[in-house]
Amino acid sequence: MAVTKKDTEYAASLARLGLSEEEKELFTGQLNDILGYIDAINSVDTKDVLPAVFYGPGGAKAFSTPMREDAAVPFKEPKKILGAAPRLEDNMFRVPKILDPEE
């Protein structure tokens, strides 16, 4: 399947990657090369094959889902997490105005 510049732009917007015109051209070309190589997988017969799922050492038949007991154990240093924030106000992470709300 050929990748067009529109495809590149679509993927870039989904991934929130700002690309320059040059980068769009370059990536479109490179994506085409890479996906051209990858497209060989179309020839593999995967009828009745299930996608790989990780079950752990027990395998599908003998696995159990790792779970936590429901007990509140607070993290001792939330300040360290806030300390890594690029922009903080009133102890909250500040972001520029949101034009496209996601209610």
Binding site: F63, A72, P74, F75, I81, D90, V95, L99
Partner: protein
């Protein structure tokens, strides 16, 4: 043209767990922003999720109560989108194989019982909270602040089939669903507080048409009444458009409580490409036979079944049964008391009138008072055997609620026992007779009203404790009438 309304509801319920869905932060949170966070729920690089067992149990119980088929293996998937209240920029949710599917919820609308299909029940994590600065809401704000305290709280999503046929039905469905969730102690289910959230999909189609019309999404309904009002507004809006010959376009609309209208959210015509894929950091969720048995065992009787049983087994009038069943705690209290004393109607009366009045006035629930089934049954026994009169009992019940002392104790200490013993009252009767010759005269000459006056005097002398019926008998005997 007659249009049929088709509504589907999507409900998100915050689960009553101690900790968050994928980390051990407290799920009930304090007030100061970003105090209830850890590397996992803030999506720090390298952090990994681990499932909360209780959240799974609560969801399984809910799914069973909603008559769903539980998938013994379900998959957590990543829902990928960018938003500041979602630190990983993906939400761990369930997509292709959810926890449970194909159930139903029975509701009663205008005397008719209807089954509303439940498409799926699944688990996911909640996002954080945004505070907008520079304007009241997000529109026109200068910037926003993010509080991640709520991020990672366990959410259960319940999706109904588009089986709902009116805004009123939608309200009833939500009320019934909330009722069940509270009964199961799975969720507080308060729309106003946000512990439960509801979004609706609504479309119209010509009556008799099988194909679904274009649906719109309605959000921001913050009370049960609002659910009905919002959907009525949307039905009106769509009907008007269709009547005018316009086409309905897919949109997301927000309900405005103040105006009672729905309006379009800013620029949201495009649908998201969430790129769902199974989360490689989690194993499939296996529901074992043990878990199912445990859930079935914990499954409490649902309100509708309890109501039926109260009417049939205890002979309660439906309105009383409904009132008792509205709060599980009240219903349980009723039954425990009824086990101690076989007087269901009396017990129900006390609970529904005086006790409920007290609870409402104080803004509390039975477990917040000192009243127990033993104390209530004890008091009713004393009323039945005449030791206390109805009026006294009204005061006594309040004092029991507050002090936890038994009726017997309270009556003895305050001397408020109703005196029914004839020999004890004879003295008072004779005193009244000797001090009220004119009334005695009036009564013996046939004026029955005078008896009331004499009884009143005797009540005064006995400080309200005399049993008026016994007094009446004594006066009659003494004055030979």
């Amino acid at each position: 043209m007659n249009y049929e309304t088709v509504i589907g509801l999507e409900t998100h319920a915050q689960l009553l767990t101690e900790s968050k869905m994928f980390c051990s932060c407290c799920a009930k949170f304090g007030n100061s922003p970003n105090s209830n966070i850890c590397p996992v729920c803030t999506g720090q690089p390298g952090s990994l999720p681990v499932m909360n067992k209780k959240a799974v149990e609560l969801a399984v119980m809910t799914a069973l109560a909603l008559n769903c088929r539980i998938n013994t293996e379900s998959i957590f998937a990543r829902k990928n989108y960018f938003y500041p209240d979602l630190p990983k920029d993906y939400q761990i949710s369930q997509f292709e194989r959810p926890l449970a599917e194909n159930g139903y919820l029975e509701i009663e609308v205008n005397g008719r019982r209807r089954k509303i299909g439940i498409t799926r029940v699944h688990l996911e994590e909640d996002a954080g909270k945004l505070v907008h600065k520079g304007s009241a809401g997000i529109k026109g704000a200068d910037y926003s602040l993010v509080d991640l305290n709520r991020t990672g709280t366990p959410l259960m999503e319940i999706v109904s089939e588009p089986d709902i046929r009116s805004p009123e039905e939608a309200r009833i469905f939500m009320e019934e669903l909330a009722h069940i969730l509270r009964y199961l102690e799975v969720c507080d289910a308060k729309l106003e507080e946000g512990s439960i959230r509801c979004d609706a999909n609504l479309s119209l189609r010509p009556a008799g048409e099988k194909k679904l019309g274009t649906k719109t999404e309605v959000k921001n309904m913050n009370s049960f009444k609002a659910v009905q009002k919002a959907l009525e507004a949307e039905v009106k809006r769509q009907t008007q458009m269709l009547t005018d010959g316009a086409k309905i376009t897919q949109a997301t609309l927000l309900f405005d409580e103040a105006t009672g209208l729905v309006s379009q959210m800013r620029s949201k015509e495009h649908s998201h490409d969430y790129r769902y894929f199974p989360d490689p950091d989690l194993l499939p969720l296996k529901i074992t036979l043990e878990m199912l048995e445990k859930a079935k065992g914990s499954l409490t009787e649902l309100p509708i079944d309890k109501f039926k049983r109260f009417v049939s087994d205890y002979g309660l009038p439906p309105s009383d049964a409904e009132t008792l069943v509205a709060l599980k705690e009240m219903a349980d209290f009723f039954e425990r008391t009824a086990l101690l004393l076989s007087e269901p109607k009396l017990i129900a009366n006390w609970l529904i009138s005086d006790i409920s009045a007290y609870l409402n006035a104080k803004g509390t629930v039975i477990s917040g008072t000192k009243l127990t089934p033993e104390l209530l049954s004890g008091m009713i026994r004393l009323i039945k055997d005449g030791t206390i009169g109805g009026k006294t009992a009204k005061d006594i019940v309040v004092r029991i609620l507050e002090t936890g002392k038994s009726a017997k104790e309270l009556v003895e200490s305050s001397g408020a026992t109703q005196i029914s013993d004839e020999s004890a009252l004879l003295g008072i009767v004779n005193t009244v007779i000797s001090e009220n010759a004119p009334s005695v005269e009036a009564f013996t000459s046939g004026k029955d009203a005078a008896l009331k006056f004499l009884i009143g005097q005797a009540m005064k002398l006995s400080k309200g404790r005399a049993n008026p019926q016994v007094l009446e008998g004594l006066f009659k005997k003494q004055l030979r009438r």
